[in-house]
Amino acid sequence: MKRREFLVHLISEVSSFLLQGNPRKMVVSLHQEADGIHLAVLDDRPRSDAEIAEIEHSLNTARRPELAGYYGQMAGQDLLGSARLNLVGWQIKHADVLKTPEGGVMLNLWIGGEGFEFDKFNLSKGTQE
């Protein structure tokens, strides 16, 4: 899949998930570099620690190429019903979920090839500080 279409689908699925919680505010931020991409999506809806742990678990599931190549194509397209973060989780390098000062959450997604090291991505340090 081309990068642009791939990103549109990921943004759509993650946005759909956050909009399910009916937030008052949602921000999508994208930073692209040659070997990797950082996508951050944040809202202002308060979530419990258990909910955050569940989100983090869904986004950091083991890589499943057999599912990503087939069912992963549903990400961001087939939005009737509950949003499914695992469709996104199979296709990204790493994700973390942080509480924002406003009480909502910030989903940080790092996307890149086999050699991409998300912790060396220059934006990641700035984001987590």
């Binding site: 057999e66 599912l67 190549g69 087939y70 194509q73 549903m74 019903g81």
Partner: protein, 396 residues
């Protein structure tokens, strides 16, 4: 494999197995009758080994979806899939992956489920009457071409019903089957459907499902009875929409308990309605076993079964008619509709499925083994389209 030998002895099983490889395989070809139960069981074992080998070669771990694919392959090896007719499809899907510079493992599930189009290969090789020197290579080439077009269509079909038909490749293969059956028909070839349906009894065929289901339950208990029960209960709350890997979303113990219980329930249901434990019925039960790890649970199945039952009663059909028995078993492909949209939607889905599935087999002349998946896909598309239209258009 042991059951195959115990059932009829080594020599009849092997000779029957060979006979099945060179037989027509369109719906409904009950291999337990066309050869013998031992030969059918041997074919089931060999096709299962092929599925596991393909997963191994692609370095794919055993999980809900991969086991669902292998059990479905094994189930349909009782009535249509053979080693010979599966291989070209798998090769074709792998070529399709390479065409778009993906690794074949990304399409491995499509390859395994896609063997539902195996009868295309057998049809060209053994039904059209071409000399073997032409028929065999031609059947392989057509099988490979069918495999190549499967992934793009499977992905497109997934968007139609948005994951609410568990047998997505059934809808895809039915779509391809419409074209595949129309071409020889246009050329004047008789491609009418037929049905072989074994009504005889065989103790090994009778015991196969209870043995496998009890093994699944025992394994579930061995993984920790209390933990498995908790996982099993959490599975009952899930919609089952594709892709719901219960082994990952809940846990292996709960998923195995779900598989064992649901399959046993359907086995008893078959016993109550007097269905014979022949190839197609065992195929249906093995498919339920596989998809109980990947979308089907007890709660999302009930409305579908009741919807089918309601249609049977309303239209005065006989419950033990082969295609109705199969509708009960395979109509469970629609269970995510009940799981996501509730009891009434599930009831309607089951009802519509029974109304439609009687006709769809003739459309593709039995070339697509997942005829119920084809019908379920059309029903799911209808229901999902209406619900989506309503939800996205209603003024708040």
């Amino acid at each position: 494999m042991l059951m195959a030998i115990l059932s009829n002895g080594m020599v009849p099983a092997v000779t029957g197995f060979w006979q099945l490889q060179i037989s027509p395989a369109r719906l409904i070809s009950d291999f337990t009758l066309m050869a013998n139960p031992g030969a059918a069981l041997l074919n089931v074992s060999m096709v299962g080994i092929l599925g596991l080998l393909v997963l191994r070669l692609n370095r794919i771990q055993l999980s809900g979806p991969s086991l669902a694919a292998v059990f479905t392959m094994m189930g349909f090896a009782f009535f249509g899939k053979t080693l010979l007719n599966c291989i070209p499809i798998i090769i074709g899907v792998s070529i399709s992956a390479l065409i778009v510079r993906k690794k074949p493992r990304e399409y491995v599930l499509i390859a395994l489920f896609g063997t539902s189009l195996g009868p295309i290969v057998s049809f060209i090789a053994f039904e059209l009457g071409f000399p073997p020197g032409i028929a065999l290579p031609l059947s392989f080439i057509i099988g490979i071409i069918a495999g190549i077009v499967l992934p793009p269509l499977a992905i497109a079909m997934l968007h139609l019903h948005q994951g609410y038909n568990l047998y997505n490749v059934g809808l895809t293969a039915g779509f391809i089957g419409l074209f595949a059956a129309s071409i020889p028909n246009a050329g004047g070839v008789d491609i009418s459907t037929f049905a072989t349906w074994n009504t005889g009894r065989n103790i090994w065929l009778f015991l196969l499902i209870p043995i496998v289901a009890v093994l699944a339950l025992a394994l579930s208990i061995a993984l920790g009875a209390k933990k498995s029960l908790k996982e099993f209960l959490s599975i009952q709350k899930m919609s089952g929409r594709l892709p719901s890997d219960f082994t990952e979303m809940a846990g292996k113990g709960g998923a195995l308990a779900n598989a064992g219980l649901l399959t046993l329930l359907y086995w008893f249901f078959m016993l109550i309605i007097g269905a014979p434990f022949n190839g197609p019925v065992l195929g249906g039960l093995l498919t339920i076993l596989g998809f109980s790890l990947f979308g089907k649970n007890i709660l999302n199945n009930v409305p579908i079964a009741l919807g089918i039952l309601f249609a049977v009663i309303l239209f005065g059909k006989s419950i033990s008619t082969p295609w109705i028995v199969l509708a009960f078993l395979f109509g469970t492909a629609l269970s995510p509709v009940a799981g996501e949209f509730g009891f009434s939607a599930g009831l309607l889905a089951g009802f519509l499925h029974l109304v439609l599935v009687e006709r769809t087999g003739a459309w593709h002349a039995g070339i697509n083994l997942y005829n119920n998946g084809f019908s379920a896909g059309l029903v799911a598309t209808l229901i999902v389209s209406v619900i989506e239209w309503y939800k996205t258009n209603i003024e708040q």
